[in-house]
Symmetry: C2
Subunit: 320 residues, 2 copies
């Protein structure tokens, strides 16, 4: 019998990462492509997904019939059971059935879930969360994403909309968030929140290595890493402030879920994880209930940029 392979995708607003896993759960081929040429139509993103899969199997040299299944994580609210993207902040899809065309094209099962949910699933099955039953994932990127493993299962709530604790309000009437509300964790501790803070400091006449990096949007994580290393005062203040609120949010989530572990991931943690973790862990004890804090761990994601790919793999291998 010919060997079967799992094809996994991390679909982002700007790029799509693809990987082929063999039956030993090893990545044997990788590909990265821009999500769209023009960023406009949903057909376009579907075309890119198909071309990533097509190109990977052709370059790696396997046939369609050797695809065990295809699975993906993508930003937005996603009906995991039907494979429909209900809404997405970064993809041009609304109530879009992405599963049917992919299944038809490749003659294989297709699974899709929210990217951070799938990433936390990856950490649960193959990363920092291995062996635990209750996991809170907090992914710090441009926004602030969440994912929950509860009683050993991915928890998605009613309508697949759970784990939006990036919009937990920590400072009533605090800084404005992208969601229209004020004082959300995302507005305080994400790249957007930190960039806004840094931009305000620069507007007050302070110097920072990050000035150019935040002038037209959010900074790149690498620049933040470099600035922290150089002890750039504004960068240090922005991160200290972000970590203060991340510690409060983590404490609130620990008191809510009593998880065995809180896993911090995302681009910022991937680049500057040790710096963040030191500051979060040293403060979070204050915010956890005494009865709970002794039984909870705080760790960085172990799979880094691959957590969504591994989560997609687990969707394939655990499918019923």
């Amino acid at each position: 019998m010919e060997q079967k392979y799992s094809v996994c995708l991390d679909i982002g607003g700007t790029k799509i990462l693809g990987a082929i896993f063999d039956s030993k759960k090893q990545i044997v081929y990788r590909l990265k492509k821009r999500t769209t040429e023009d960023g406009s139509s949903s057909q376009n993103v579907e075309d890119t997904i198909i071309s990533v899969v097509d190109q990977m199997i052709s370059e790696f040299g396997i046939k369609k019939s050797q695809i065990k299944a295809i699975a993906a994580g993508a930003p937005g609210v996603i009906d995991q059971e039907k494979g429909i993207v209900l809404t997405s902040p970064n993809l041009p899809w609304k109530d879009y059935d992405i599963a049917t065309p992919i299944r038809k094209k490749f003659g294989a099962p297709f699974y899709i879930g929210n990217d951070v949910n799938v990433g936390v699933l990856g950490e649960y099955k193959y990363g920092a969360g291995k062996g635990y039953k209750n996991i809170v994932g907090l992914f710090v990127g441009t926004g602030m994403g969440g994912g929950l493993i509860l009683d050993g299962k991915l928890f998605t709530g009613n309508g697949f909309k759970a784990a939006e604790y990036g919009h937990m309000i920590l400072v009533p009437d605090g800084p404005l968030c992208n969601c229209g509300q004020r004082g959300c964790l995302e507005a305080l501790s994400s790249k957007q929140g930190m960039s806004n803070f840094i931009r305000q400091q620069i507007a007050r006449g302070r110097d920072s290595m990050m000035a150019e990096g935040v002038s037209e949007g959010v900074f790149k994580s690498k620049l933040l890493k470099k600035s922290l290393k150089a002890h750039d005062a504004v960068a240090v203040e922005a991160v200290d402030r972000a970590c203060y609120y991340l510690a409060i949010a983590a404490g609130n989530l620990v008191n809510t879920f009593s998880p065995e572990i809180v896993i911090f991931g995302g681009g910022v943690i991937e680049a500057c994880g040790d710096y963040f973790m030191e500051r979060i862990v040293s403060q979070v004890d204050r915010y956890c209930m005494p009865s709970i804090r002794d039984t909870v761990k705080f760790e960085k994601a172990a799979l880094g940029d691959d957590s969504i790919l591994y989560g997609a793999l687990s969707m394939i291998l655990d499918a019923k």
Copy 2:
């Protein structure tokens, strides 16, 4: 065959409520007793529990052999599987095996869980939460209790310590909470939080009908009801402030869980529910993510003071 009855208990720090349910899930007998004579020893509380059950079955006129099972809700962290009270704020128990002596004495199964957890279970099975799969319970009393039904099951987290979102921090460095931390929901919106606020206003020389009621601790819910009816300015302000933070907390919890319903219960809601609900519901929309707020309901507990008794009944009827 003789009919079997379920014996259910709501064990509080000051009183124990007992009820006998027949096989049609109707309460056929009730009893209320003070928890302890002196409030000191754990043996004493165990004696009271036994005497409540003894007295109920003797006065109602059934034999021990007609007890299907006994179940209870009690404050604290409780190992539901083993029937051990690990810690309790209001009962003199620590790592106390209450199940074994009760089982021995009555020759029947005995189940016990955290009171608010059991109360939310009651609302899920027989009250405001009937038919829903994901329920967030928020019980406003002397403290602030939580209970979660997730994917149709009571969620207790690692070590039975979940749902402590009464200690969600909403105002970093806000008013001091009983837990030692500052700015928790409990410190802002529970009877303790409201009583502290009222006491401060009175200390500033303001008049209030509630002055005597808060002079040596927390007010009684009936007094709050009376004061609201009389438009007592300090009482109105205390409740408006409590509802403001309850709305933020409810929004945070909705974004975290995407539940079908948030149920507000506890003594304060039982006494002044309409007043609170009007103020919470009119504000909570602001704090829920737009994608979630259209699919979530906010309601008062339907079983009132009996929700824990009904939850205990469901522990008996759903036991495997």
